[in-house]
């Protein structure tokens, strides 16, 4: 036992020597400054549980969007040579929502990480924002579409790279109005997310001059006593005609069985068939095919979705800020990101951060499973400064006033 310990002792000494030699060698070339971006997510996050019809029949996989961030950091590698700044990505997976704050604090204090892509619910941002305030940290919200997070929490510490519900619903209604499909039947599911989506849709309908001819709550099930709420034929039977059916159904199981089961031959939009999204695997303009194929290679064939895009662009923004300021300094980079500068989001018009609520203004795709039918803002929806601000909360439409 003694001899073994001695051997081990020598071994450690050798490691220290090798390490210090390597250090001495590197010392001749000053080390490049490094910008590390943290990607934080939660193990067994229910938001990422697959949606199943039955045990082995998966309808939506709902993966964590880490690969999006990974692709962006890989893209930065060629640049790091010219810029003489290294870029790194560190994934922090915690056990519960409560562990987010300690993990972020520890990463900041011990490893100097100041940018975090956050894959967590809107609720998780309340304690996070409190914890990082006054600490030179910028959080990127890549997965929570909730409008209240932008309007009521309204925090300087967050940049929202995922479009808000208000933005996606505005994009959808712009398309319906441009088709002159103005009369809409609304079907709302029982989940809180369905209520939030319907509320946002309702606001968009008012904003762009469409009409809700009826709103009905559905309740998935087969109980004949509740057939008015669970039978697609009865739910869509209406004396008044309508052009299109909007359905809010986060659980998805009811929505997937609605098209072609309706009383009238009308298209279904919202949770199925025509969905407003931040990204789609079929988008074929603005360099998107190359991004989609890089993503597929990095993820073993998965198709890039909205949350993946929102994680990707978050990392891109940090890299771009370092590039354009020529600096690894956090304050300069944050200033660049929040300063209204345009970023290449691979969806046409440059994306940029709105100063009033720090939402990333961006195009919204209206996508069917196999094609992007339109990209909002739809032609003809005008704005005095930037047509992207026809989507979501414009400066005067939100209580959030972060503009400095």
């Amino acid at each position: 036992m003694i001899s073994r310990r001695r051997v081990l002792g020598r071994y450690w000494l050798a490691i220290i020597l090798v390490a210090s030699c390597a250090h001495a060698l590197r010392a001749q070339e000053p080390p490049q400054p490094r910008v590390t971006i943290g990607f934080i997510d939660i193990e067994d996050d229910p938001r990422h549980e697959p949606i199943r019809a039955y045990e082995r029949m998966i309808l939506k996989t709902r993966e964590h969007p880490f690969v999006g961030a990974k692709v962006a950091i890989d893209e930065a590698q060629a640049l790091s040579r010219a810029l003489k700044i290294d870029f790194a990505l560190e994934r922090l997976t915690v056990k519960s929502e409560a562990a987010l704050v300690p993990a972020v604090t520890q990463a900041r204090e011990s490893r100097g990480i100041q940018f975090f892509v956050v894959d967590a619910s809107a609720e998780a941002f309340r304690p996070l924002v409190e914890a990082v305030r006054e600490h030179d940290v910028l959080l990127f919200n890549a997965t929570a579409p909730d409008d209240w997070l932008r309007r009521e929490l309204c925090s300087r510490e967050i940049v929202h790279t995922l479009p808000s519900l208000a933005m996606t619903m505005d994009g959808l209604v712009q398309h319906l109005v441009s088709r002159k499909w103005r009369d809409i039947l609304v079907l709302q599911g029982p989940a809180a997310a369905d209520a939030a989506m319907t509320k946002a849709f309702d606001a968009s309908v008012k904003k762009f001059g469409a009409r809700i001819v009826a709103k009905r709550d559905f309740k998935p099930g087969t109980d004949p006593r509740e057939r008015e709420k669970n039978n697609p034929l009865l739910l869509t039977a209406l004396n008044r005609d309508y052009d299109v059916i909007f359905i809010a159904d986060d659980a998805f199981d009811f929505a997937r069985q609605l098209p072609y089961q309706t009383q009238r031959a009308r298209p279904v939009v919202g949770a199925i068939d025509l969905e407003p999204v931040a990204w789609h695997w079929t988008w074929e303009r603005h360099g998107a095919p190359q991004l989609n194929s890089r993503f597929q290679r990095a993820s073993n064939g998965r198709r890039m979705d909205s949350q993946d895009w929102a994680s990707w662009i978050a990392v891109k923004m940090v890299v771009q800020a370092a590039l354009r300021t020529g600096s690894a300094d956090f304050a300069k980079q944050r200033e660049f990101i929040l300063g209204g500068n345009g970023f290449d989001g691979y969806k046409g018009l440059a994306v940029s951060v709105r100063p009033w609520d720090q939402q990333l203004r961006q195009a919204v795709f209206l996508a069917t499973p196999n094609a992007v039918i339109a990209s909002a803002p739809i032609d003809g929806f005008l704005h005095r400064t930037n047509t992207l601000d026809t989507l979501g909360d414009d400066e005067q439409e939100t209580p959030c006033k972060l503009k400095r």
């Binding site: 893209e75 060629a78 640049l79 010219a82 360099g287 190359q290 345009g342 046409g348 440059a350």
Partner: protein, 327 residues
């Protein structure tokens, strides 16, 4: 034109290459590559009528002649190939293998080499034309696009759209020797005839970045804004320069205009309205006619250079990419 056995392809290409090259005939024929209809349309130089529809491998994009213009090479992105068209016969007579998704390329006729940017694999492949073989892959930043070869064949310039970089590559050593940071999403090149400057379109920055070739550093930029447009609508991609080096034409993509630029003064002189999403742009050898491919309009706009007016637009295939002229 799909040949199953590799040995057959080799024999075929070898036979084709063994033919003694004929001299250029200056037919004036106009070749338009169409990404989505998988063909190169050949237009009559006077009537602009289609004289031949040449089927190619999938997604034909960039095209270049060899030195005596007996062969036209066409990069076909979805089939990972460069098709070889016999200019006299107007048919595909061979196929070179490339890396994944070739877009633009340059030919070094003296060394019998092709340098092709493969946007999917982030490399420039060096192809030995005789052997029909990739002899080297040079690593670039992501999404390499524009390629420009110096007249002496020693230096290759390549844009990386994702990296916002232009690489300077030593073709003998086969490696990147220098990088320069340019405007966001650099796309394509034009070189001033005096060899001093390299113009690079930066699509998302809405500008042309000018590179001093001797210093390999940014020497200036030109911004564009057609009347009534917003900066965000301006997405420059294609650029062509007159042979005297006095005037440049830059296609502005989403803004549906071509900018006319005084090269020496680095000043925009005017804008010409063209079709939807113009990218590819080519001048006739006499510098009197400009051809613009409108990618999302499936047509080509013809511009009279002296009056700076669009005179005609002609329907072509689906998503026209580029135009070359046998003059």
């Amino acid at each position: 034109m799909i040949i199953g056995r590799p040995s057959l392809i080799f024999a075929f290409v070898a036979a084709v290459l063994a033919v003694v090259p004929a001299a250029a005939k200056n037919t004036g024929l106009i070749f338009v590559s169409n990404e989505k209809s998988n063909n190169v349309l050949v237009l009559d130089p006077k009537t602009f009528k289609v004289v031949k529809d040449i089927k190619t491998a999938k997604r034909p994009r960039d095209m270049h002649f060899n030195a005596d213009r007996t062969r036209l090479y066409v990069a076909c992105g979805n089939d990972d190939a460069i098709d070889v068209i016999d200019v006299a016969k107007l048919e595909v007579i061979g196929r070179l293998k490339t890396g994944s998704s070739p877009e633009t390329f340059a030919i070094d006729d003296a060394r019998r080499r092709i340098y092709v940017a493969n946007e999917e694999t982030s490399t420039v492949a060096v192809i030995d034309i005789e052997a029909n073989k990739i002899v080297q892959d040079i690593k670039t930043g992501d999404e390499p696009e524009g390629v420009h070869l110096s007249d002496d064949g020693k230096t290759l310039y390549v844009t990386s759209e994702v990296g916002n970089l232009v690489h300077q590559i030593d073709t003998e050593a086969g490696r990147v020797t220098k990088d320069v940071i340019v405007g966001t999403r650099p796309r394509r090149f034009a070189a001033t005839p005096d060899g001093r400057e390299l113009w690079v379109t930066a699509e998302l920055a809405g500008e042309v970045t000018i590179i001093d070739r001797a210093k390999f550093a940014v020497a200036g930029k030109i911004e564009f804004l057609p009347p009534g447009m917003r900066k965000s609508d301006v997405t420059p991609v294609g650029v062509a320069m007159t042979r005297d080096g006095k005037t440049a034409f830059v296609t502005l993509g989403h803004a549906a205009h071509v900018a006319v630029v005084d090269v020496a003064a680095r000043k925009v002189e005017g804008y010409i309205l063209v079709g939807k999403r113009p990218w590819g742009v080519t001048l006739a050898r006499d510098d009197r006619t400009l051809f613009v491919a409108n990618g999302l309009g499936d047509d080509v706009t013809i511009i009279d250079v002296r009056s700076r007016k669009a005179t005609q637009s002609i329907p072509v295939g689906r998503v026209p990419w580029g135009i070359v002229i046998d003059d």
